[in-house]
């Protein structure tokens, strides 16, 4: 899933406005291996913005002024 610069900016704003962590999850979320972006089973790394956009599709429709 490609994430353009506009969506990236929106994601950053969404994270800041909702008090989430850098992975788009509630603050205080912990992960196996410390990050949801690296799959220790496959050895593959995900892009942070792609991960958030996939996990939180609602962010695309989020409006900063809501």
């Amino acid at each position: 899933m490609a994430v353009d610069s506009a969506l990236k900016a929106k994601i950053e704003a969404w994270i800041k406005a909702t008090g989430r962590n850098e992975f788009g999850d509630p603050d205080g979320t912990m992960y196996a291996g410390g990050t949801p972006l690296f799959d220790e089973r496959t050895g593959k790394t995900k892009d942070r913005f792609e991960h958030i956009a996939e996990k939180h599709p609602e962010v695309k429709d989020w409006e900063a002024d809501r």
Partner: protein
């Protein structure tokens, strides 16, 4: 591969002296008791006592002559450098084979098995004379033995000279360079264990008695519905599982991560199945805080840390983390640390500078990850909080996947052995080594951290590797050495260096001693005749024989029980007291040297004191 070494001359001499002492003592004792029994001038009670002990001594003598020698299992390492001219094979058979089964195996292969040493028959470590076989037939026989499920390991038994001592290629003495190679078929693929020197570390410690809490996605050590249990965790010890997500006393793993991590720490090892774990005799406390998606809350994790600290965990492994610090988790880690729990954490898989939490807390040992070449893995986080580096795998594509960490887990409801990579895999290597250190007697988090760091293989970038790449062999070696000279750090479940057949030999010797001293019993200070030899014997035997048995074998309860019948014999009470006091003094001397456990010394003192009080009443 480094051959397994054993100084045969000193051990052989001690063994000979030990057995000779028992034998001569027994013969003298039997003679004395026989004379007493057949002397019609002796009171009837004395003759009955003589008859009883004559029978006991004869039984013990027979047992001590024919009982297989005890010996801790030393799996033999296949040696690439084994001499083609080896005259014998060393064969480690399965411990559960009966004596007749061992002989049957020998007959099947046309060889006769003889005990490798007076210390290694209980564990079925045998030698087979193959001097009459050609090199080709010897090699073929070796291959067949290695393929036999009844054989844990087989190798050529070759000898070399080292510093003037005759060294055999099997069954090393403690303190000598030695290796243990598990028979798990996929062990050779576990480069990560070899990288940190596990074969040598296992010679000294396997993590026995240490409880390692694995705070993770749970652990598939038991079956749940259609999810199987991990096959290579059968035999691994588990305690007090808890699921902090559902608040139940189960910790099923619906992800696979926690099972893989637990396997690195304590995979069932030397069971002829799957692969090996770092501290395979440690006990795992599986605590589930991460969901099937691999995420969880800081609150559950903090709860789990406190639970572990309150329920007997000695080491905590957290192959998890997050980008932000949380006071509640910091407080829990501090609490656990203050309770003597060592906390080991994955540094994180960000591939950049910045150690995650909880790894970055000062109470935690942050572990970065290296690949087979010992260099930092591409995904590993690094930073000034990194304490140490450990193997976690480093591969970029499927073709290189064997450069990951191989363990057993359950994934997609399948029991599988998979190569994973991450600081999650590095952390349990360090936690496992912490458990090994713990077993040697260095218990506290500060001591364990220091041992890990002081013995690490140094690297040039502290932010990436901390003190360096973990070195289990060096860490355990240094820890064992320091624990020996620091009695305060001796385990609460310590072992006593006494020959395995010591209790029997002692029994024979003590009874013989009592018999020999029978006629001198009325002389002043005659009890010294019991105390001094036993003290000497105990010190010599425990100091040099190098065998580990449970402390109960060393307690004065045994001589007390064996000689209790003598208390009714006129004039022998002093000998009895002397023997027990000597035993106590011997155990105390050993204890002062760092081996003796205080509870047993107290027990010995109590027995000696009781006897003294009883004698004083007469």
């Amino acid at each position: 591969m480094t051959p397994r070494l054993r100084v045969t001359s000193v051990r052989g001499l001690l063994s000979f002296l030990w057995r000779a002492f028992g034998f001569i003592g027994a013969v003298l004792g039997l003679r004395r008791w026989w004379r007493t029994l057949t002397n019609s001038d002796e009171p009837r009670s004395t003759r009955l006592t003589a008859a009883f002990f004559l029978l006991v001594m004869a039984t013990l003598l027979v047992l001590s002559l024919f009982r297989p020698y005890g010996g801790r299992h030393q799996a033999s390492a296949p040696s690439a450098s084994a001499s083609a001219s080896a005259q014998e094979l060393v064969v480690d058979l399965r411990d559960d084979l009966s004596r007749s089964a061992v002989n049957a195996v020998g007959r099947e292969y046309g060889v006769e098995f003889v005990p490798n040493s007076p210390e290694a028959v209980d564990e079925r470590l045998m030698l087979a004379d193959v001097s009459k076989l050609s090199a080709a037939r010897r090699a073929a026989l070796l291959d067949r033995l290695r393929a036999d499920s009844r054989v844990e390991a087989a190798d050529e038994n070759f000898e070399m000279q080292l510093m003037g001592w005759r060294i055999a290629a099997a069954s090393p003495a403690r303190g000598q360079v030695a290796e243990v190679t598990p028979n798990d078929p996929r062990y050779p693929e576990q480069w990560h264990l070899n990288l940190i020197g596990m074969p040598r570390a296992w010679e000294k410690s396997t993590g026995k008695g240490c409880v390692v809490a694995v705070i993770d996605t749970g652990c598939a050590f038991e079956k749940k519905d259609d999810i199987p249990a991990a096959s290579d965790l059968k035999g691994t010890r588990f305690t007090k599982p808890f699921d902090f997500i559902t608040n139940t006393k189960r910790a099923y793993d619906d992800h696979g991560h926690g099972t893989h991590v637990a396997g690195t720490i304590a995979q069932a090892t030397n069971n002829g199945h799957g692969c090996a774990g770092v501290a395979y005799d440690a006990t795992i406390m599986p605590l589930k805080v991460l969901t099937q998606y691999g995420s969880g809350t800081v609150a559950d994790i903090a709860n789990a840390v406190e639970y572990a600290a309150n329920n007997g965990a000695n080491v905590i492994n957290m192959s998890l983390g997050g980008p932000r610090a949380a006071q509640v988790l910091a407080k829990a880690c501090r609490y656990a640390n203050q309770r003597g729990v060592t906390i080991v954490c994955a540094a994180g898989n960000s591939g950049r500078e910045g150690v995650g939490y909880p790894a970055a807390y000062p109470e935690c040992i942050a572990v970065s990850s290296v690949g087979p070449d010992g260099n930092l893995a591409f995904y590993s986080s690094w930073g000034e909080q990194v304490c140490i580096a450990a193997p976690g795998g480093n591969y970029r594509g499927e073709a290189e996947k064997h450069q990951g960490v191989l363990q057993n887990t359950v994934f997609n409801k399948q029991d599988v052995f998979e190569f994973w990579q991450g600081t999650s895999m590095a952390s349990p290597h360090a936690a496992g080594v912490a458990a090994l250190i713990w077993q040697t007697g260095v218990k506290g988090p500060a001591g364990i951290r220091a041992k890990l760091r002081d013995t690490a293989t140094p690297k040039d970038d502290a932010k990436k590797y901390g003190a360096g790449v973990i070195n289990a062999a060096a860490a355990v070696g240094a820890s064992a050495a320091s624990a020996t000279v620091q009695p305060a750090r001796v385990s609460s479940q310590p072992t006593y260096p006494v020959p395995a057949h010591g209790p029997l030999a002692f029994a024979v010797a003590l009874l013989a001693l009592a018999a020999v001293l029978l006629r001198q019993a009325r002389r002043p200070l005659f009890w010294l005749g019991g105390a001094l030899p036993v003290l000497l014997l105990c010190c010599v035997a425990t100091g040099f024989a190098g065998r580990l048995v449970t402390p109960v074998a060393g307690t004065a309860v045994w001589p007390f029980l064996l000689l209790a019948g003598l208390f009714g014999v006129r004039g022998l009470r002093g000998v009895l007291i002397g023997v027990c006091a000597g035993w106590f003094a011997g155990a105390a001397a050993v204890g002062l040297l760092g081996w003796g456990p205080t509870p047993w010394l107290l027990a010995n003192a109590a027995v000696a004191g009781l006897l003294g009080w009883m004698a004083a009443r007469e």
